[in-house]
Each structure stands twice: as structure tokens, then as C-alpha cells.
Symmetry: C2
Amino acid sequence: MGTVGGGTVSVLSRNAQEIARRAGRGIHISHAAAREYDPSLPGVSDIDRISDDAWAVVDDPEVAIVIELIGGYSPAKELVLKAIENGKHVVTANKALIALHGNEIFSAAQEKGVTVAFEAAVAGGIPIIKAVREGLAANQIEWIAGIINGTGNFILTEMRDKGREFADVLAEAQALGYAEADPTFDVEGIDAAHKLTILSAIAFGIPLQFDKTYTEGITRIEPQDVAFAEELGYRIKHLGITRKTPTGIEMRVHPTLIPERRLIANVDGVMNAVLVYGDAVGPTLYYGAGAGAEPTASAVIADVVDVVRALTTDPGNRVPHLAFQPDKLSSLAILPMEEVETAYYLRIQVQDVAGMLARVAGMLAEEGISIEAVKQQEPAPGESEVPLVMLTHRVREKRMDRAITRIEAFEGIRTPVIRIRVEHLG
Amino acid sequence: MGTVGGGTVSVLSRNAQEIARRAGRGIHISHAAAREYDPSLPGVSDIDRISDDAWAVVDDPEVAIVIELIGGYSPAKELVLKAIENGKHVVTANKALIALHGNEIFSAAQEKGVTVAFEAAVAGGIPIIKAVREGLAANQIEWIAGIINGTGNFILTEMRDKGREFADVLAEAQALGYAEADPTFDVEGIDAAHKLTILSAIAFGIPLQFDKTYTEGITRIEPQDVAFAEELGYRIKHLGITRKTPTGIEMRVHPTLIPERRLIANVDGVMNAVLVYGDAVGPTLYYGAGAGAEPTASAVIADVVDVVRALTTDPGNRVPHLAFQPDKLSSLAILPMEEVETAYYLRIQVQDVAGMLARVAGMLAEEGISIEAVKQQEPAPGESEVPLVMLTHRVREKRMDRAITRIEAFEGIRTPVIRIRVEHLG
């Protein structure tokens, strides 16, 4: 009964009548385990039994559905597997657990004929798992691009709105409680990669493959890049992107320039949004709070209602965990990042001498990279270097790697090239 | 097999494998009725039997699920009722049918233990019925505001982007096929009112009450109002709004000023979006194509997959048609428009003499209406009247009605007051 657990108890209690009017029966917490909790929290007094022993909950014969809101890998994994072994359905908000151990967990659940529901694991209160898995069931999903980490989006929004530095905004986000004391999972994209792994699996019918996700954080984004992007008509967002190509599936988290007219470019602050492109439906977008006690509780409880409804269905007719029947998963490979094709934003600090643009453009051309737009500033008084900013057309990452190696080796370039990928999401 | 029917046949055929990988079985069209159709359409050759007799389809013992894509009230209603009587499940995209006759149809279906699914009836390919009915099941829905007519949104977007007149853009929309030859249903808000009636019922657990929806079209929106709104930081959208208040439920379709920073204010062209506010989840938004052959087919087929999965469930455990158990619907009244509270944009043509603003403000004050912002232009050379533009704070509609009557009776005012409602959607 931490943040999400407390929210779940509270929403279940406050909206008990509304939920029962929908589900056709009341949903009751018969047994809860919490290391510590606030007994005055709304709904806590309705719980039959509260102990500090989570193992007693998963072994309790009175419990039909186990809700796991501990987070982390252990003992969450062992508890979930034990609940399944005991024939109980499971609802979890644990993205790390599902992204890394979902294949094993779903396989155990499948064997036992129980459901493991995980709507709250991706994008908090947004019913995105349901939308992709059921709402878009007619489609071949082509790609998904999502803002799926609220902390990162808050930081990038503040950097843009106020021209602030990354470290400065991060400190504020920590003070506000939007970022953890150790912000690595959020700002390095690991949390987003967990969620993207899940989205990719349910979109394309592939096993969960967290270890194959390319992950790049936002810690090196500078205010000048945010400003240059803006001048070029783009916003920088930390996106999770997964795309099916004829040769394999892209699965990548990185800062991305997107055209400012796209709806998703205007998703600001701690909010999340997921843009899904299906071959029949075209683009659809899902927006809402990606974290927080009650938004996450909203998803947890929706899962509980679904599971309650499925108690009397034969397991073969339930929605499969990963959207596709477990014996029909695809073995399509995850593409290594060097094989991924995107457009690029490049910022190169060049000596303020004639001919530098021609030199750089020439080195890009030698790798077959063509340029879409260029911005070159006048040097500030006393400065001998100027930023040369370019947008390129789409090219395979390994070609760009080679071009950058070439540019950085050039005598007139003394600092590393800044490279941010560009997606038009059209 | 018109637009949506043809799209459904085509998507079912093209994505047959993907759909079967999800649903765990193939979905096959065994019998279709069409007055005329293109035999070269993809998927048509897979259909066992095509006739021009829809009654033969609903009576065919081989048919498990009837998909109704005729539209309109009759014979759609009779066919759907007959299909139900024959114990068949029904999937329909027919918003007019559901909004006007849904109570009767769902009651018949309930009695027979069959499902009538209607995801495609609201906002085309966006899985909004599923989101509200299942994804947000934990919430007390507080309000919904949606751009749920693509034609109207296309017209308003063009008027804003290019400063064009309503009639001019409507003619273009008709030429492009975005608007019907008789555009009444779209531009007068009737189509949106059908969809809003359905959203309101599933959000609040009330019966469908189309006849109680307040409906106002966009035909009187002038380019100058679009421009004034923009100067004040707002966009004009044709919204369907439903809200639960302690005294009753608001259900209204009308042009609305919304702050330009809201995500939904940036939903342009023919696209649809629905913003839903739940007490636990906060705001969530769902965006996508609201019409068209394949987006609508996407929703139709998702419903078919859901129904296929529910074939073996006991009817009592299915998701109820109107989200809430049929014996648990609420009798909360629909508020008449005069009892609805909103803020207002007013444009008043006043004589260009001193003191007019004070006079108008005084008349508003006498009805307890306070002013948030005012814009008054210099008169054009040779003009004796100027537009006085005001934004008011929230007030009950009947007070505004009285204030406008008073203003229009004033000797210095010679043309009707233009009034557009304002919603902050915060």
C-alpha cells in the first residue's frame, strides 16, 4: 500500500458503487500485505485482513485475484509465480517485471489457465494495452511512437519553455517528487524501454525482448539544441519507437525531433501519449497521465474488472497476454541500431572560416547522406567557433556513424558531433 | 458493401492471418447482402454467398454474427431486431440507429442473451467505446468533450487556417467527398448529437436520450469570430459535451471556444478526438480518423473479434451494452440548456460612440455576469459600427439569454448579438 497500492485501495472504496454497477458485482479486498501503511487512508478499514506477509496473501484460499504493486524484480516475480501456481489471477503494474520476465510469467499462467493483466505497466492510466490488443485487433500495426516517461517529458518541456539546463530542471523535478533520488531509470530511458518492450510485443506478436532494445537517455540534450530544433519547426521529445520493417523490428528509445504540428509534439509536462499507426485505422493517439497514484489505480482496477468478467470464460477464449495466441508468436528479429533508418539533426562546432559547410556536406555526401536544411550562425564576438546545424534525409544509422567518425577526424572540428534522430511520424 | 462494408470485406481479407493470430480462429464472411457491389474488390471472392436480400442473411442458420452496415433507421432496425430474434450477435456502425433505438435493441438483445456491438458508431476507428466502457471502468466519469464530426472539423480548420467563409469551405468539402450533398446532419450537429448520446449513456449509465440533446450547428460561424478567438488565445471547435452535475446531466453539441494550448484544440482537418475526464485517471484523450472505409472497418472488425471471444461466455459476465448493468441505469435527468453553465464569447456590433462598453457591461452586470476580457476595434473608415468582443466568466445560460435580450433591445445595438460558448476543459 505504497503510492499505487494506496491509490488502488482508495479508488476501489470511493467508487465501489460505480464499479459494481459496471462489473455486476462488488470487488472486495480480502487480504492485503503492507510493510507499513496509513490506517486512516480511505478504504483501508474495508479490508478484511492486513498483514506484512505478502506470501500469506498469495497462499490465501479466499483470494481469487492477486494485485502485485510492489514493483522491482524480487520478490515480485516469486510472488507472482506462486500466485499463478496457486491458480490465482494476477494484476500487476510492474513494467520491469513484465518486460524482463513476462515470457516466463505468461507461460506459467497459460499452463495454469489464469490471466496476468498488466494495463498499468504502460503509460499509467491510459488504456493503451487494451487499445492495441483489442481495439486495433483488425490492423497490421506498422509502428508505435510514445512519450512513455513523464519525468523525461517534464524535463524536456521545462527546458523548452524556459530555456533551462537539463541538470537544473532535473533537480527541480526531484524536489517536486516527479523524479526519483536516483533518476537513472527515467532519464536514461530504461523505464521507457521496459514499456516499449511490452508495446512492441503486443503490437507485432513477438516475445518480450528487453535486452534488444536500444536505449539512449536525455542527459546530453542542451538548451541550444532545444532552441535550434524550435527554429527549424521541431520539438525534442524522448520517444520510445517500435516499427515493423521487412527485415526486422526496430525497438529504440532516444531523444527525437518531431515536427511541432504533430499532436504528440504538443504533449507537455508529465503527461504521456502513445501514437499507434495501423494499416486500416491509420494514426491513432492515446493521451493521459502516465504515472501517479490514482491514474495508475484506474488501470489496475480496470484490469481487475476485466479479470472478474473472465472468471467464467474458458481460457482459450480470453484475450491472449501478448495479444497474439502464444503458439502464433513471430520470430522476426529485432534490428540492431546500426541497421535502423532515420533522419538526423546534427550540430557541429566548426571553425569560423570559409568553406566549412562545403567540407562537412562533402563528407556526408561521401556516405550517401543528403541534407534537408542547414542553419549557420554568426560567431559571437571573440568566438572562433560557430555551431553548424543540419537536418539530413533518412539514412541507415551505420552510414551516419561512419560519416560522423569522418567529420570528427577532420582538423577543423574539435568537439564531438551532436546527433539527434528525427522522425516525421507522418 | 458500400464504403464501410467494402472496407470491412477488404480488411478482413487482407489481414486475415493477423486477425486469426489474435482471435485464435479465422473469421469468415459466409453470406453478404448488397444491392450492388464491385466483384473485383479485395476479399469479395472469399465470400461464400452474395445476394441482394438482407433478410436472407439475418435468417441464415450458418451466420453467427450479423454485421449491419446499411446505415439509417429502416430497414436497419428491423433487420437488427430480426437477427437478435434469431439468436445472432450483431455488430453495427449505425450511430443514428443506436442513438434513437438503442434502448429497444439492447433490451431485445439482453432478453435473447446476444451482444450488439457498436464501437464503429462513435468516432470511427478510435476505440473510444472500449476505452470508456472498459478501460476507465474504475472511474466516475465527470465529463466528456469530443470533436466527433470530421466534416465540421475540416470546415472549421480551413476557416481558421485560410480565413475562408463557411459556405465556401463547405462547397469544397462537398467536392472532396468530405461532406454529403445534403450536409445538414454534419454541419447542424445532428451526427455529433447521435454520437454524444451514445457517449453520455456509457459514461454515466443512463438510457440513450437523443431527443434531449441540445444541438447547434456551425453554419453561423463567421471568419471574424474565428480571428477574434485566435487573438484571444482560443480555437473554435464543434464539440459534443456531456457532463454530470449534481442536478442533472448536460448533453450538448455546439461551437465552442477552447484555449489553444489544450491538445484537443490542435486536432485539425477531418480527424476526431474525444477528451474524457475521470475522477481517478484525470484527463485522457483519444484521437484518430472518425470516418472512412478502413478506419471504420477497423472498429467493426475489432467488435467482431470481441464477439467471437464472447461466444462461450455466459451473457451475465459480458461487458454490458451501455457499460452499466441494465438494471442499474440511473434516472438522473438531462438538464435543459437554459440550466447549463458555461463561459461565453460575445460579439456585439455597437455604434462607435463613447460609453458603449460601459452600457453593455452594465447590462451584463445586472444579470450577474462578469467579464473576463474585452476587445474593441477602431472602426474602419466610413463605418459607424464596431465589433465589441467580450469573454465572460461562467454563468447559467438563462441569465445570458436574459442579458442578450436586454442588449439587443438597446437602441445603440442594431444586429443580433453573436454568442459562442467557451469551455476551458481544465
